[in-house]
Amino acid sequence: MKKINKREGKLLTLILTAVLMFTVFSGCGSSNTAASPSAAPSEAAEQAQTPVVVVQGAEPSTLDPCFSGSTSEIQIMEHIFDSLTTHDENNEIVGCVAKSWESSEDGLTWTFHLRDDITFSDGEKLTAADCKYTFDRTMDPATQATGNYLWVLDGISYESSAVVDDTTFTITTSVPCPIMPTYMADILIIPEHYYSTLDTTKTQTAPLGSGPYVLESWDTANNVITLTKNNDYWGIKAGTVTGDIETIVWKCATEDSSRVAEIVSGSADIINKVPADMADQITGSGVATYLSTIGSQRQYIGINFKSQEVFSELAFRQALNYAFDADTVIKTLRGGVGTRVATFVNEPYADPDCKPYEFNPDKAKELMEAAGIKDSDGDGIREFNGEPIHLVLTACGRYSKDVEIMQAYAQNLKDVGIDAEVVQEDWSTFVSELDSKELKCDMYFLGSGSVFEVQTDLTDFLSTNASNYGSWVNSDFDAKMDELSAAFDDSARMQIGYELQQIMREDCPIVFFTMGDNAYGISNRISWTPAKSGRIHLTNATYNG
């Protein structure tokens, strides 16, 4: 073999570069052939029989309701189990296992009247004893329950439960709990005859419920969960389940790009947590559509009141809100999904008069000047008590574009004379800081889930609450919250809720931002409307054609 000369070397380099570029561009280009729903009729019919594949962004760890805290698990379990109450398509609380309910006069005892036509998937009847067992099992220290159930029992100040007869069940609380029916939508009823005989390490992967689907298999080695329709489900006759999906396969892909590739390649029917900047890839594929809806998660920039004295100045906190160009951030970083808010409450309790702060840097400067927060040495940075203001802003990359949003906000603050830097933190480390209320930063980006109820929405800001991470204290707010928790009449609750929102808006415990969005990729072969909660429920999904 002869040695290559300079000219051949150059030619070779050129060929290799061309091969590389071809590989890259063939991978990056969009394909029109992918958009081929023009399958033959028989092929289309065959396609309709195949399972609906849901690819989630997080991996489920358990299907035992007493141990679950993650949406990735709860939304699967809500197909397998029933709850006492549930949310309808308008997000109103309606009966499920319970037909009706009422509260005692002192508000300490709630009585639930149960349907008598519900059976678990093994044929055993669901009775009030199973409801009581669900609570007893959670409260039993030997169970070592974790997650959502503990949050609910804590929220309702649970004391005890009792069986009156097979279809009547009562819950007693230590303080009146007007929002018991809302909370009960989160408690999935488990059968005593099954769970009482199994060790908790065995129940994690072997659920048995009374819901519209049953677990066919959980391939733990490959993270694939398969559910099949429970054709004896009471809700089919009652008309609460109208979908025709026989089999649902749940998979997980933590990488955004992998989930998008799944739907674009036709391997998935629904994916969640789609970043706005990947929407075009989905719609451009021709096999799926991108859908983004306003979710219930309240997203905001928290203020750590313990970190700097300047936060005690109301004018400064208001200036922080006026300085934030939230609309531009939503438009450029969130694909225009969402609107700026000045409340922490979801519909239907959100106060329509609680108008968002406008982006007004001049007003921000004016407020600070009036409060004596001035740049006296002319270096462009304002001082408070003689010290230049420097704020550390933290984001963890957990929420869509949160780090970029904080960077934009840091620039907004610099424009009004407040020095700010963004420090990205690891989420698990940051959670430890939140739990101990010992935050290293001055301001932080955070989201908070919601059950669409005013009291639970606002509890985060009660001075004594563990979730009041920023340590904001406002005695008027606390007093009104006490008033709210004692009110049973819905219109009274609505009114008190409005007043609380106005207190928050004026006192600015946070920099208000928006309600987070729920973004999905949905295959063209199915019709499905996402729930407002952001959880994926397929009981009313249907095949197209």
């Binding site: 991978g27 358990t62 908790t200």
Partner: protein, 307 residues
């Protein structure tokens, strides 16, 4: 030989013992392991927290805890995962076969491509073959695995729809992660084979063999390759050890449910017992593979046996 083997085995036991002390010690870095594992104790009663502490044996003196921990390991009891609420070993057992499949297929692909390519480049030094081979080597080492993986997904998963884009279960799922993972190893090992082969080919005994009139293939494969294999085997051994420990990027990108992905998820969730189980298992595999390589080295290289 026996002395050497016993010495290496004793060294491995000491290393593994050290690893158990380190993983056990990690539990106490923040003081109370109960709060480290539970993290968010919001909503939990003091009774429930105490019950958890007692059930995990954290109420006992740390020496007793270490004894329980180490004796548990010998019984195959690595504790209960806090996040999955299942025995850690059971969870790892689910993930490990996937990692083994991926590791061995990537290693096999590496050997099949890298060794012949390295030999070819060395034998045909400074020719077109060598240039192409080394250009491949340069590319393979320069291209990040996640980028190669993305390209493979776009080309074979999205555009051509030949292969599933993520997950595991069939042989088709294995192809793309294997290629993505093997590309980097292939490039590195091809370069190592080439340089060691060139080194050996310049030795006197090769010249002697050629002078004696031996055929080219006999010289290359019988005399040169065997002498060049030592460093290659060491490298492949280390490679296999790392691969069996799970490759986090590849497994995450292709949603391949292996040990690497499991370990990183356990870390994110502060599932300390599961992290410990993964670390001990990975470390044991790494130590074991290295021991095997060292022993193999002795078999292949008589010089090593003498020393």
């Amino acid at each position: 030989m026996k002395r050497y083997v016993s010495k290496r085995i004793i060294q491995c036991i000491i290393v593994l013992f050290g690893i158990t002390i380190l993983t056990f010690g990690c539990m106490f870095l923040t003081g109370d392991p109960t709060t480290l594992i539970l993290g968010d104790t919001k909503g939990m009663s003091q009774e429930a927290i105490q019950a958890f502490r007692v059930s995990r044996g954290f109420d006992k003196p740390w020496l007793v805890q270490y004894w329980n921990y180490i004796s548990g390991i010998f019984r195959g009891d690595f504790g209960i995962s806090y996040y999955y609420n299942r025995p850690c070993l059971e969870i790892v057992k689910d993930a490990f076969p996937n990692t083994v499949k991926l590791a061995f297929s990537a290693l096999a692909l590496t050997v099949i491509i890298a060794v012949p390519l390295g030999i070819l480049c060395a034998v045909k030094k400074n020719t077109v073959y060598d240039k192409i081979g080394m250009a491949f080597g340069l590319l393979g080492q320069s291209l990040p695995i996640f980028w190669v993986g993305m390209l493979l997904i776009l080309l074979f998963g999205v555009q051509l729809k030949w292969l599933p884009v993520s997950g595991a279960g069939t042989w088709k799922h294995l192809i793309m992660p294997t290629v993505a993972l093997a590309l980097f190893s292939c490039a590195r090992n091809a370069r190592i084979v080439r340089s060691t082969m060139l080194d050996v080919m310049g030795q006197d005994y090769i010249r002697t063999a050629k002078a004696k009139g031996l055929g080219n293939s006999k010289v290359v494969f019988k005399h040169a390759l065997r002498n060049a294999l030592g460093p290659v085997i060491t490298m492949l051994g280390i490679e296999l050890g790392s691969l069996l420990g799970g490759s986090i990027i590849t497994e995450s990108l292709f949603s391949w449910p292996g040990l690497g992905k499991l370990a990183i998820t356990a870390l994110e969730r502060k599932d300390i017992p599961l992290v410990q189980c993964c670390v001990i298992l990975c470390a044991s595999i790494f130590v074991l593979v290295n021991l095997v390589v060292d022993l193999l080295y002795v078999v292949i290289d008589p010089k090593a046996k003498l020393s």
